[in-house]
């Protein structure tokens, strides 16, 4: 039934975005704290933050691709 696939696609996308936003927000908070405590390492910390954010977002986008496939049924 294509209607169920559409609903499932929407729910899946929303849930995966919740997970990604939570993870990346914790990451950003830790980065701000670390930069505030020790401004000398702010550059390295920022680089690691970008890499980790891209990895977390990569996992989210796997789920999004599946949701797109569902929504296009």
């Amino acid at each position: 039934m294509p209607e169920l696939a559409h609903i499932a696609g929407g729910f899946g996308a929303a849930l995966s975005v919740i997970g990604a936003a939570y993870g990346i927000s914790k990451l950003a908070a830790a980065t701000m704290e670390a930069s505030g405590r020790q401004p000398e390492v702010a550059g390295e910390v920022k680089t690691s933050m970008i890499i980790s954010a891209a990895l977390i977002e990569g996992v989210t986008l796997f789920a999004e691709v599946i949701c797109i496939i569902l929504a296009l049924k």
Binding site: I50, I51, G58, L61, E64
Partner: protein, 287 residues
């Protein structure tokens, strides 16, 4: 971006009219995102690219016809070859760069220092050519998708799969060159692991090699395609509501998402190169 949005409007209107008979008219979104055998220059018509019949090799049929993404990859390669040759040749006259060479040098020094040297160390300089090519190719392919009438070659699973396959080969080659063929695969399992866990660890690490390449593929593909789908959906809202009043809000959001996509284009090129360098570094420094 305004011209791009107007071109979109002309094209989506044509498609919405064409597919209105079926009621479900979201095929125009797929048409903008996926590969096709013609280059559409709405409203000026379209260019049909040369098609070749599929070649049979054994049991496989390989279709080498030229499609939109292939054409844009060639365009990107041509522009890179021309521009970077001119920039490199300008260094013969004077050591200090001027003009465009200044900009390219910023990127090259960034990749050499922050990505290759800091992650892999001095061994990585052997592979600097590959990382520079990878970065500039992915960056330019991503940016071409944002100009009017452009198509994102990296929004195609086959293209990003090919790039990840090349990176996979580089990771294996770098490790084998450093540790030898058997030594590299034995070194996948870390030291100090109990004997009964070692086979399991080997299988997990071996599959991890493929999982890393797969993740590189899907990350780049999904980031590029998702941005375009958001822009298309925002503009499509105008046609769903069938009212001009939605247009200012829609176009404003679409312009904002376009600017975000420029940032994402740079970040994704950087992430792909950085992760490949990271995996090559892990390969080389196995202990």
């Amino acid at each position: 971006m305004w011209i791009g949005n107007l071109a979109f409007a002309a094209d989506t209107l044509k498609h919405a009219e064409n597919s209105h008979a079926g009621g479900e008219s979201s095929s125009w979104m797929l048409h903008h995102i996926s590969d096709s055998r013609t280059i559409d220059l709405e409203p000026f018509g379209h260019i049909t690219l040369p098609q070749f019949p599929p070649i049979r090799i054994g049991g496989l049929e390989i279709d080498l016809s030229i499609t939109k993404h292939v054409f844009f990859m060639w365009l990107v390669s041509l522009i890179l070859i021309i521009v970077l040759s001119i920039v490199a040749r300008s260094y013969k006259k004077q050591i200090v760069p001027h003009g465009l060479a200044n900009l390219i040098e910023v990127f090259v020094v960034f990749i050499r220092d922050e990505i290759v040297l800091s992650v892999i160390g001095k061994d990585g300089l052997k592979y600097l050519h590959y990382f520079l090519t990878l970065f500039f190719f992915i960056l330019l392919c991503n940016l071409f998708g944002l100009i009017p009438y452009g198509a994102t070659a990296t929004g195609n699973l086959a293209v990003t799969g090919g790039l990840a396959f090349l990176s996979f080969i580089l990771i294996q080659l770098a490790g084998i060159r450093k540790h030898g063929l058997i030594g590299y695969y034995k070194g996948l399992v870390p030291h100090g692991v109990p004997a009964f866990v070692a086979p399991l660890m080997f299988i997990v690490e071996f599959l991890g090699l493929f999982a890393k390449a797969f993740a590189l593929t899907v990350r780049l593909f999904a980031n590029m395609t998702a941005g375009h789908i958001v822009i298309l959906s925002l503009i499509g809202l105008i046609f769903i509501f069938k009212s001009v009043l939605v247009a200012p809000v829609s176009i404003a959001f679409a312009v904002f998402i376009n600017l975000l996509e420029i940032l994402v284009a740079f970040i994704q090129a950087y992430i792909f190169t950085m992760l490949t360098a990271l995996f090559v570094g892990l390969s080389i420094h196995q202990h």
